[in-house]
C-alpha cells in the first residue's frame, strides 16, 4: 500500500510537470496578452513598458523558470485581469462549481444506476426500452440546448424556478453553501439536472451492460438454483461485480464535470470556475489559465488515486502494490 502511494505520487509529479510545460507552450503560442488587453489609444512606449513589467519580453524558457521559482515559493501568481492572487480567485469560485457538480452527480447516480439495473434485469420489458431510448437522448442532445429548453419552460413560461445565478448562501455544518437554503436549491436544481443528463445516460448504459452480462454467468445460475431470491442475487452479488466499470467512469466524470462544467455554467450564469477559465482564455489571462489547468491535472490524479483504492475495496482480487 505504501509503495503504491509513493509510486503514484512520483507519477503525479511527472504528469504535473509535463502538463505545466505543455500549458505554458500552448498559452505562449496564442499570443501576447498585452495586445488583447491594451487600450487602443495607448502609446507604443506604454505597451513596451507593460510588456517588460509582466516579463513578457523574456524568452519562453526564462518565463517558465520564473514561474517555477515562484511556485516553489508557493506563489502561483496574480491574475493580470483582476490583480488578485490566482489561488484566491480559483478557490473563491470553486464552492459554487462543487455544489453544482455534486448535486448533478447525485442525481445521475440515484436515478441512473437503479434504472440501469432494471433495464439489465428485464431487458425485454417496455419500461427498459423506454429507459434505453431516453439514455440515448441524454447522450446526444446538446447540453446548452436542453438548458435553454429548461429555462424557457420552467423559468420563462411557468415561472417556477429562477432562470440562472446562484441562490442565497446558508451555513450547514460550518460550511457556507447555497445548498443550505431553499432559495439556493431553487437555483441549483435546474442547472444540476441539465448537467446530470449526459452522465445519467452513461450510468444507465454501463450498469445495464454489466447487468445483462452478469445475469448469464454461472454464479447467478448457481445462486438461483440454491433458491436465493432475485433481490438478494442482484443487490448482494451482481451489483458488487458490475461496480468496477461504474466506479471508474464515475470518477472520471466527476473530474471532468468539475473541471469543465462550463457550458451549463454559462447558460445558467452559474458563478463557478468554468466561467472563470473561459473568460481568462478570452482575455489571455495567463496566470489564471496555467494555474487552473495545473489544478485540474492534480484533481484528476487525486480522483484516479481514490478510484484505485475503491477498486480494492470492491474486488478483493485487486491488490495494491506488488505484494502477493
Amino acid at each position: 500500500m505504501f509503495g503504491f502511494i509513493i509510486s503514484r505520487l512520483l507519477q503525479a509529479i511527472v504528469v504535473v510537470f509535463a502538463m505545466s510545460i505543455i500549458v505554458f507552450v500552448g498559452v505562449y503560442a496564442i499570443g501576447n496578452p498585452i495586445d488583447v488587453m491594451i487600450d487602443p489609444a495607448a502609446t507604443a512606449e506604454m505597451r513596451a513598458r507593460l510588456i517588460a513589467q509582466y516579463g513578457l519580453d523574456q524568452p519562453l524558457w526564462k518565463q517558465y523558470l520564473t514561474f517555477l521559482a515562484n511556485v516553489a515559493q508557493g506563489d502561483l501568481g496574480r491574475s493580470m485581469v483582476y490583480n488578485t492572487s490566482v489561488t484566491g480567485l480559483v478557490f473563491s469560485r470553486l464552492p459554487a462549481t462543487l455544489e453544482l457538480v455534486l448535486v448533478a452527480i447525485a442525481i445521475a447516480t440515484i436515478i441512473g444506476i437503479p434504472a440501469g439495473i432494471y433495464a439489465g434485469y428485464r431487458p425485454k420489458s417496455f419500461a427498459s426500452k423506454a429507459i434505453m431510448a431516453l439514455s440515448i437522448l441524454g447522450f446526444s442532445v446538446p447540453t446548452f440546448w436542453i438548458g435553454m429548453l429548461l429555462i424557457m419552460g420552467f423559468a420563462v413560461e411557468l415561472g417556477w424556478l429562477p432562470s440562472g445565478g446562484r441562490g442565497d448562501e446558508g451555513t450547514f455544518l460550518g460550511i457556507s453553501t447555497s445548498l443550505a437554503t431553499a432559495n439556493g436549491w431553487s437555483h441549483v436544481i435546474m442547472p444540476a439536472v441539465n448537467l446530470s443528463l449526459f452522465k445519467m445516460g452513461l450510468m444507465i448504459r454501463l450498469t445495464r451492460a454489466g447487468m445483462v452480462e452478469a445475469m448469464q454467468t454461472d454464479y447467478v445460475k448457481f445462486a438461483r438454483a440454491q433458491g436465493l431470491p432475485d433481490r438478494q442475487i442482484v443487490f448482494k452479488h451482481v451489483l458488487r461485480n458490475i461496480s468496477i466499470p461504474v466506479v471508474t467512469v464515475f470518477g472520471l466524470e466527476l473530474g471532468s464535470t468539475l473541471a469543465f462544467a462550463v457550458v451549463t455554467e454559462s447558460v445558467f450564469n452559474w458563478p463557478g470556475v468554468g466561467k472563470l477559465i473561459i473568460d481568462s482564455i478570452l482575455t489571455l489571462d495567463r496566470p489564471v489559465m496555467v494555474t487552473y489547468l495545473i489544478l485540474v491535472v492534480i484533481l484528476f490524479v487525486i480522483i484516479n488515486f481514490t478510484v484505485d483504492i475503491v477498486y480494492a475495496r470492491l474486488d478483493p482480487r485487486v491488490r495494491l502494490g506488488g505484494t502477493k
Binding site: 489609444a41 473563491s92 429562477p162
Partner: protein, 525 residues
Amino acid sequence: MLKNALRTGIAAVALFAAAPAAFSQELTIGLRAGPDSIDPHWSTLGSQAEALRHVFDTLVDADDTLQLQPGLAVSWEPIEDTTWEFKLREGVTFHDGTPFTAEDVKFSIDRIPDVTGPMSMTLYTKYVDSVEVIDDYTVHVHTKGIAPALPNDFTRMFIVPSETGEGAGNEEFNSGEAAIGTGPYRFVSWEPKGDLVLERFDDSWREESAWERVIRKEIPDDAARVAALRSGQVDLINYVPATDYLSMENDPEIETFTSDSVYILNVQPTVKDVAPQPIKVNGEEIDVNPLQDLRVRTALDLAINRDVLVNVVLEGLGTPANQLMPEGFFGYTDEIGEKEYDIERAQELLTEAGYPDGFEIDFTCTNNRVPGDAVVCEALAQMWSRLGLTVNAQALNGTVFFPAAANEEYTMAMSAWGTLTGEAAYTYGAMVHSKDPEKGFGNFNRTGYANPEFDEVFVEGTQTLDAEERRALYEEASLIAMEDRALIPTVILQTVWAAGADTLTFTPRVDQETRAYEIESVNAE
C-alpha cells in the same frame, strides 16, 4: 388550464424566485460585462468605468452624446499653453463624510502610475506633467506640451479621497474598505464576475436617484441574459442580441431602447509595398500591392452596399457610416455626403487600375468583439466578389485576431473601433496618423498608411487650444482621410437595451453605459 392551476399552486415558489423585482425601489440590471476590480484606477476597460461611475465621480462628465458636462469640476479652461485650471464643486462629501477638496484630485492623479494594470490608466494622464493645488477648490494641471483634449481624458479619471493611502490596492477596494467615492451610490459588495450591489448615497450632489438599491448582475451569455429578463429575474438588460431583438419589439410585455453606438466597423486595407498575405491574379502571386492604388481602394468602397448591410445583414440594428465617427462628434465633417453604392463605377476604376479580372485577396475580421462583426465580414466578401474579386474571408476570435493584427500580419482586416472620447484626436492619433512611436501616434495604424498632408493638419489640431479652430482642423483631417480611403468605414453598430414594459425609462447613451442614476422609474402605484 392546468398551467394556470400549477401557476397558482406554486405561486409561493415563483414569488420567491422573482423576489428582487418585487420591491419598487430596487433595480436589478443584467449586464454583459462588469468591472475587473473596484479600484477605479486599475483599468481603462469600458465596463469597468461604467460600473465604478456609480461609486466614484470624475472631474469632467459626458452626456449621452459624449459632449462634456461638469462633474466634480464645475468649469475648466486653459490659462496658459501648458496649464489647465479646474474649478471644483464645493460642498461635496465622500461616502464616509470627509469633504472633497483639491488634495483629493492631486492624490488621485498621482496614484495612477503606481496601481494601474495592463489596461493602463496612464493613458488618461499621459499629458499630465504635474498637479498643483492652488486652494481647496482650484487645481492647476501642468501638461507636457499643449494638451487641448485633457478634459476629454478626464472623463474616465475617477477621484478617490486622499485618505485612501498609498498601500491600498485591489484587495482593499474589492472588500469595500477603500471603496469610498463621491458617487450617487455606496459600494456594498462585489466579487469578480459576480454581482455588484450598490446602495443609494443620500448626500450625493446629484439629483436623487430613483433607486434605493441597485444590483448589477453580470450575465455574459446572451441567451441567459434574455431569459433572465423574460423570467423577471432582472428589470433591464443591455446588449440584446439581434436574434431576439425582433421578437422583443413585437412583444407587448417588453420595451426596447435602441441607440447608435460609438463603434464603427472599419475595413483596413494595407498599403505597404509588400502585402503581408500575398495577393494573387489568376492564381499567380503578384509583386505589387494593388491596395496602394487609390482607385482600387475607392472601388472597394463603392462596391459596399451599406443599406443592405444595415437592413438585411444587421436586421436594422445599424446606421450606414461615411466616416470614422458618428455624426455630432468633435471633428465629424458634414462635407462627406452619404456613401454611394455604384458597382459599375467600381468596376471601371478596377479596370483603369489594371485589374479587369480582379484579384484574390485575404480578408480577416473578428467574430466575437461586437454584435454582427462576423456577418458583416461575410457580407462584404460577397459584395466584393460581385466586383470580380476572389475574397477569402475569415472571421477569427479576438484572442487570435488582435495579437496577429498587432504584428501586421493581415493584408486586409476589419475590426470595430469606437471613438470613446467623442472627439477625433483619439481615433486619428491612433489609427490614421503615420506610425511614429516617438510622438506617440499611429500605434494602431496597421495598414502602413502615411499621408504627410493628413499628419500636418491633424498635428496642428492637437496643438490648438481654441476649440473652434481645432474643430475646423479636425474636420479637414476627416475629409483628407476619407477621400484617401485610409480606412473604409462600413456601418455604425447600434445597441439595444430591453426592460419590462412600463417599468422604467432612460435615454440610451452612445457610449452604451447603463447608468442606474440616469434611469427613471415608471411606477403605476
